[in-house]
Each structure stands twice: as C-alpha cells, then as structure tokens.
C-alpha cells in the first residue's frame, strides 16, 4: 500500500456538493428492489411460523398446489441438504447448532420461514400461502434471556479489577436494561432472481449491502461457481445494519428461480419485515465502577446478558463482542472486566443496528457516570473531565480487541470536544431553569462517546477514464442512502481535477467489482474512499506519462490542472489521453495495457476511532409523561469531512433513530412469544412531531486519522451512539431521580409512575 499523497487538485473534497443520488430519487426514478421486473417473472410468498417454538410434524401443501396459477410450493424436504447460513464475520468460537437453517423441521421464532409458494401473481401467491397448513408439536419457549442457558460466553478486560474495587472510595453499581429495537428501514426487502439456463448464470437484484459476500454464500449453497452468480446492488431504502445481510429468502428466491427456470420476484411486506429482519440491542447490564476519593476511575466492570433471539445470524457474536470491546469508551480505565452471556430466546434473531454494542454500552457507562457524579457529589461534567483520556495520552493502545483488530485509539482531544459541546449548550441550562420556574419538568443531559469506523481489512476500487472525458468508478461500496456515490465521486474528482458531476460511481456490482466488501460499520468513506483515491492517483500517473508522449515534453515539466496536462500553451485533457490509450494509438506504449484505468486496493490494520458528545434538553409533560426534546446537539470529530452536509445529515438522522430507541421503539412479545409489535401501529417510530425541534451539529475536523491518506473517519453512526445515554441522562435530570432510570425505552407509563 502506498501512502504517498500528492497534493489534491480539485478542492472538491470538503465541499458541500449536491448529491448525485438526488435527481433520480426526487423524480421517482430511483431503482429499488421492487422496481425490477423481468420478462416472465413469477412471484414468491413465504409461509412463516405462527409459533415461537415447535417441531413441524406435517405441512399440508395440497390445497395451495391445487390453486390455479400456483407453480410451486416447497418445504424443507424439497431443499435437500443445504447448510445453514454462515456467519459473515466469524470469530471462530461460535457454538454449534446456533446458525439459521433454511426451512427447518423445528421453528424457533414467530416469522421463521417454513415453506415458500410461487404463483403467477403476488396476490395469488399470498392466497396460496394462506392455504398451506402446518401441524406443530409445541415446545417450551424462552422469552427472557435470564431464563435460558448461555450459548456463548465472552470476556474482555485487563488490570486488577477486584483490587481496585476493594480499594475504592466510591463504588457505584447499576442494573440497566436496553429494549429490543431495530433498524426497520423504510424499504422492506425485495429480491428478483433470474437463472439463464443457456449459460448457467444466475442474476439477483436487490441484495444491497455486502453483495460480494452474499454472492459467495449463495454460490456455495447452490453448488455453483461464484463467477456464475451476479448480484446487482441497487438503490436501497435504508440499511442501518439490517438490510442486505444474507437471510433465508436470499437462498430461497434464487433456488426457486433456478428450479423453475423462471425469474422469481419476492417483495416482503411490513408485517413480515417486523418479524423477519434482524432485531437488535436487547441487553441487560449490571455495570459497576470504582472511584478514588477524587472521583477518578479505578476500575470498570460489567456483567451483560445479551438476548440474541433464536439464532446467530450473519453477525455471529459481533454485537455482544462490540459491547464489551467498546464499553470503556474514551476514558482512562486502569482496570476493566466485562463478561457477556449470549442467550438464545424464541424471538426474532438479532444482528447489528447502527452503532451496535455502542448504543447499549454508551447508555450503561454514561448513565453510570451521571449517577456516580451525583452520589460522589461532583459536577457531571467534572467527573468526565477527570477521566477522559487527554490528548497527550493519544494514541492510546488499549489491551482489548474489537472486530478482530487491536484497539488503538488513533487521534483526538476528547476533553476539548466536551468543552466545546458544553459551551455551545450552556444557555440550555438557563432554559431548563426557566422552564422549571414555570412549573415544567425540564432536564439537561449529555453523554460522551467513542465510535469506531473504517474496519478493513481492505476495499478495492476502479477508476476508469473514458475518451468522452467522463470518469467511471467501480467500488465495492453500496448505496444505502448515505450518499456514498457522491462522496466517492468527490474523491475521484478532487484527485483528477475534474468536475465531480463527470464522475459516475457504480457500486456493488459483483461482476464489475468482485473484490468489494460492501457498506457497513461506517467503513465506506474510509476504505472505498481511500481505494478510489489510490486508483485515481495511479490513473493520474499513467495519464502524465501518456501526456508527455503526446506533448513531446518531459513528464516532470507538465502542469496538471482542470483535468488536463499542459506544457507551455499546449494541453491535453484526460479524455484525449484516454483516447490515446486505445489499441492502434501511436501513443500507446508497446506492451502496455490499453485504456486509462487503474484498480487499487486500500488496506488497513486498525480501525479508526471517531468520538463525540450528545447533549439533550428535555421537557416532560407531567400529565401524560410525554417527553419533548426542544433542543439537541451532536458534536462529532470526523477527521476530515468529504462532504460536510452529508455528515450533518447522518448525525441528524441518527439522533431521530436513537430517540426512537430511547423513548418509543420496542419489540414486545406476549408470554407465548407472539410478537406484539407487528405493524407500524404497534412499533412506534418517531415522526416529525417527536424529533427534536432543532438538532445542532458540530462537525469537528481537528484530529485526522493517521491511518488513511484522506484522514477521514466514518460518519454513519455517531448520530445515534449516545442518544439513548443523553436522553436518559436528561430525563433523569428532569425527574430529579437519585437512582438510575433502569431501562430504555423510557415509556410514558414509566415516566408517569416516577412522577407519582
């Protein structure tokens, strides 16, 4: 990997350029999964378990098969010996028997696929699915993780924890629950699969997130060579961790298409989505901290129960691993011990949701710090000042691992950002006082957090200059709504000195970019962005050499400006240089490849660690327990913002989601394991009426990451990470609680109880 970075030329990096995605999306010309139609396609409907735990004794498909227009009804018996869905990020110590199988004999949650129906029309497919009858032998259900045996246990830590607790002047211990909520992107899943029997190729549209990984899994499960399977990433109506992972349907729909020799389309409905797509978050923490007489942390300890739902899905043990890996956050923690018990329950399986593990752990730690400050009798900001790592302690090597990488907190000044955020919101404390004087229950709360981003190990990008002068970029990233097309275009344009609108980014096509790792974990701008930068740099070097031949001038005397190389008053534009790279051109050096293009890989050993502060002002209606959030601030250090508008958008959007988990969203179940939040009437996502009246943002760029040439850190998750913590702290402040809030979400019923 070369990190030699010539000066950028375009000034497009850092600019608030208009998003490339916007025009098509605003005109209704985006291409989402259900927008794809193939000639002769037929429609699938999944039959799902109505029982939380049971053995399937018999599935009667006769009536469904007899319905005119029905092409196939399949059950597990038809699939034969297909292995369970593998883990995408395996640790290697995952327990046996925890992976999700396709159409199994024993169901473990309501919503688990048990059969699939294909019909000429989606309405017919749904009719037929309702005619499939399944006979179960009911089995006992586990719905509280405290009642089940642990399927996996993990530990992390360092230092002399017991000794620190024995020697402590103050020990604070809290029990905290985090509710079960999830990504719930607005677009339900959808897939179209088409098998071409003439050449044995299978194409799938709609699996947007990690298409290359999903292609490889699908090919293995179908017994096909990977290159015979092509996945097309498309516009996706949000991802937030959940959408685009490999689910049972990702095997079923292509399997059916190959079997039937017809394109098969499946579009999930919302009732399915709420029980089928990954849930997340549900954890119970018993967290404790030991402090000396000056409120300095001596040790941190946490015992966590993680409710993983029915199976380990593609994220394996990643969420609980990240919880214990990231729990110490931005603080100087001399001794640390965390253990987590991962319990399988008869609920929808868990995967990641934006800031996985950190939303939960940040809530636990930051709520503990508030309670501790009150008990010790010092200011809530002061307890953090005393314990935040100082800039001279950075880089900080923490003897922990996260996602298989050593943890090196790479760059930053945590206390300075805290002071900036507190200063920006100092007026809010006066506002709280005014509200309280007028009889309102108002509160001010904040939380400091550490994020992680830019997980490697690598990402690949192509930069191709066309004779038209337009640039194409093929990246392994995927567009989940975050604006990655725009960001990658800006990076390429900046390096090449061209207009960013002349750069077309094609993401996630497994044929065009077979080495891509996808968009997740706030990695795309860091990994794909730097890969594009490297490829563009290589293109520029080759262009310079060609330009020198074309202009008959020495390479080092050429000026590169505005997408052209000039020598004296003569110049050649990149498009002309690309044309001169065509076979037959007198300028194409013998023995060299035609075309002006480069493919480059960017590799990293470590993640990069952005950090930030959330501050919330809340105003609680004493009658209804409704929490209004008139003001909210996110301060986030990102190293380098490629497009500040998009970073701000990520932060503001993240706050709304974090507020949902803090106050409203909860997947609850009855005592038989029947999901009670199976429509948007029951699963309460924030609307424009619930979000803060104003979310202020501070995008700091003071601490560029030393680990990538762009110096950038990921922006996808910082808007949500500390939202649960800041809101819990603000609500506790408003209610004047001495104790911890105990749980998220902070329901109106609970608030009314606390209000008496």
């Amino acid at each position: 990997m070369s990190t030699a970075t010539p000066e950028r030329t375009g000034g497009v990096v850092g600019a608030r350029v208009r998003r490339h995605e916007d025009d098509r999306l605003l005109k209704g010309l985006g291409r989402f999964a259900d927008d794809v139609n193939r000639l002769g396609q037929v429609h699938a409907r999944i039959v799902r378990s109505t029982l939380a735990h049971g053995e399937i004794l018999r599935i009667d498909t006769a009536e469904a098969r007899a319905l005119p227009g029905v092409l196939a009804v399949i059950t597990g018996a038809d699939l034969g010996d297909i292995p369970p869905i593998p883990i995408r990020l395996p640790r290697g110590d995952e327990p046996d028997g925890c992976l999700q199988r396709i159409l199994p004999d024993e169901v473990r949650y309501v919503g688990e696929p048990v059969a699939a129906v294909v019909a000429a029309d989606p309405y017919l497919a749904e009719d037929a699915a309702e005619l499939v009858t399944v006979e179960y032998r009911e089995l006992p259900v586990v719905l509280d993780a405290a009642d089940g045996p642990a399927s996996a246990r993990m530990q992390a830590g360092f230092g002399e924890v017991d000794a620190a607790f024995s020697a402590a002047a103050h020990v604070v211990e809290l029990d905290l629950d985090v509710g079960r909520h999830a990504a719930v992107p607005m677009e339900p899943r959808g897939l179209v699969a088409e098998y071409d029997a003439a050449n044995g190729r299978l194409q799938v549209w709609g699996a947007t997130k990690v298409p290359v990984f999903n292609r490889n899994v699908l090919a293995r499960m179908l017994g096909m060579p990977a290159e015979q399977v092509r996945l097309h990433a498309m516009d996706a109506g949000g991802g937030f961790g959940a959408r685009g992972e490999f689910y049972p349907e990702d095997l079923l729909i292509p399997w059916l298409a190959r079997r039937l020799r017809r394109p098969v389309k499946w579009t999930e409905d919302r009732a399915e989505n709420l029980v089928a797509l990954n849930h997340s978050r549900q954890q119970r923490h018993r967290i404790a901290a030991a402090f000396d007489a000056d409120a300095r942390l001596l040790a941190l300890r946490d015992g966590i129960t993680h409710d993983n739902g029915a199976y380990l899905r593609t994220h394996g043990l990643l969420v609980p691993e990240l919880t214990i890996g990231m729990l110490p956050g931005p603080y100087r923690v001399p001794a640390y011990q965390a253990s987590v018990e991962v319990v399988l329950t008869n609920k929808t399986p868990c995967g990641t949701y934006r800031a996985p593990g950190r939303y939960e752990g940040t809530f636990a730690r930051e709520h503990l710090l508030d309670v501790a400050a009150d008990r010790i009798g010092i200011d809530r900001a002061e307890i953090r000042r005393r314990n935040l790592l100082r800039p001279e302690e950075i880089p900080h090597v923490r003897p922990l691992r996260a996602l298989g990488t050593d943890m090196v907190l790479d760059a930053g000044d945590y206390p300075a950002l805290l002071e900036t955020a507190l200063a920006r919101t100092s007026g809010w404390r006066d506002e709280v006082a005014r509200l309280r004087n007028s009889g309102r229950k108002a509160g001010y709360g904040f939380a400091v957090f550490l994020e992680k981003s830019g997980l490697g190990p690598h990402e690949t990008a192509d930069v191709i200059v066309e004779p038209s002068g337009r640039i194409r970029v093929h990246s392994g990233g995927t567009s989940l709504g975050q604006g990655i097309e725009t960001v990658l275009a800006q990076i390429a344009a900046d390096r090449l000195g061209v207009d960013h609108e002349d750069v077309q980014v094609v993401n996630g096509d497994t044929d065009l970019q077979p080495f891509g790792l996808g968009s997740w974990a706030s990695r795309s701008t860091v990994l794909a962005g730097n890969a594009v930068d490297l490829a563009a740099t290589a293109v520029l070097a080759r262009a310079r050499s060609l330009a020198a031949r074309m202009l008959g001038a020495p390479e080092d005397l050429l000026e590169h400006a505005a997408g052209a190389f000039a020598f004296g008053d003569r110049s050649v534009a990149l498009g002309e240089i690309a044309a001169a790279c065509a076979p037959g051109s007198p300028y194409l050096e013998p023995g060299t490849e035609p075309g002006l293009a480069a493919r480059r890989v960017f590799e990293v050993d470590h993640m990069t660690y952005p950090y930030g502060v959330h501050v919330a002002l809340v105003d609680i209606d004493p009658g209804t327990g409704h929490v209004t959030v008139p003001r909210y601030l996110v301060a986030y250090e990102i190293g380098k913002a490629i497009n500040p508008t998009l970073v701000e958008g990520q932060l503001v959007g993240g706050v709304a989601q974090g507020l949902g988990g803090a106050l409203y969203e909860n997947f609850h179940y009855d005592d038989q394991g029947q999901p009670q939040a199976a429509t948007f009437m029951d699963y309460l996502m924030p609307t424009a009426a619930e979000v803060p009246g104003l979310v202020d943002t501070i995008v700091a760029e003071d601490a560029p990451s030393p680990d990538n040439p762009l110096g950038t850190k990921g922006a996808g998750e910082g808007g949500i990470t500390a939202a649960g913590a800041a809101l819990a702290n603000a609500v506790r402040d408003a209610l004047g609680l001495g104790e911890a809030v105990g749980r998220l979400p902070l329901s109106p019923q609970w608030i009314c109880t606390e209000l008496g």
């Binding site: 005109k27 607005m186 677009e187 424009a688």
Partner: protein, 160 residues
Amino acid sequence: MKDQHLINVTVNGAEHEVLVESRRTLADVLRHDLGYTGTHLGCEHGICGACTILVDGTPARACLMFGVQADGAEVRTVEGLADGDRLSDLQEAFSRRHGLQCGFCTPGFLMLAEAYLAENPAADKEEIRDVVSSNLCRCTGYQGIVEAITDVAAARREAS
C-alpha cells in the same frame, strides 16, 4: 374467476385504460400495471405514507385505495412533479436542504407537501411539521424535510 374491471385513470396528464382485479390496490395498479414505480410501498397499511399520491388534488395513500376506486380520477405521482428535466421548487428545496437520504419515503413527502402548500400557501414551520408527521422517514430525522417545505412556502408567498 377473477373479478376484473376496466377503468380509466389519468396519471400526470396521461390517460390510461387498464383492466384491474377488484382487490388490486391503486399502488399496485400505478406501480406494476402502469409503470409509475416512483410511488413506494413501505407498510401497506396506511401508516408510513411512502405511497402518498394526489387523487383529484387530494393526498391519498395509494396502498389504502383499490385501483377500481380511481376510475375516472386524475392522479398525480412523483413522476409528474418535475418539468421535464427541471425539478420543481419543492424537489429543488429537498435537495438543497438535504431533505432526503435513501429517497424511499421522498415521493410520499413530496406529494404530501405539494398538496398541502397548494391549499395553505401561508403555512409556517410548525404547521408543516405537524402535517409531515403523517409520514415516516427513517434517515433524515425530518429536519431537512421540514426546512425544505418551509423554504418553498416562504418563496411562494414572496412570489405571489
């Protein structure tokens, strides 16, 4: 036997004659029979509002109407907002204010705002926030959406 009806519906000024099953939703008629895929389905039970279209000038959830109910109606969808390649003022404002990210809910918000501003040109920010709370967005936190519509209300007031 399928219970089918021949209906006439005008979409963005174009007249269509289409044979629809009585149970087929207007959303499916628009998306799959007529090809106006800009109208999106996020929940199919009238909560999310991604499928909001205008039926005879009034916002409606396309998922809660049957195609046959649109017989003789004038429908406007997101595809009809731009003037050729030129975006409408609302569409421009959504881009300028970063009022969209994934863009899936965007058609519903645009159509809702289009109808609301037509009836309430003097709308203020709080009224707009109240109105758009009928639709769900998971990406933007609504701030850019509310600001975009507020901008357009102000600009249209100024221009009138």
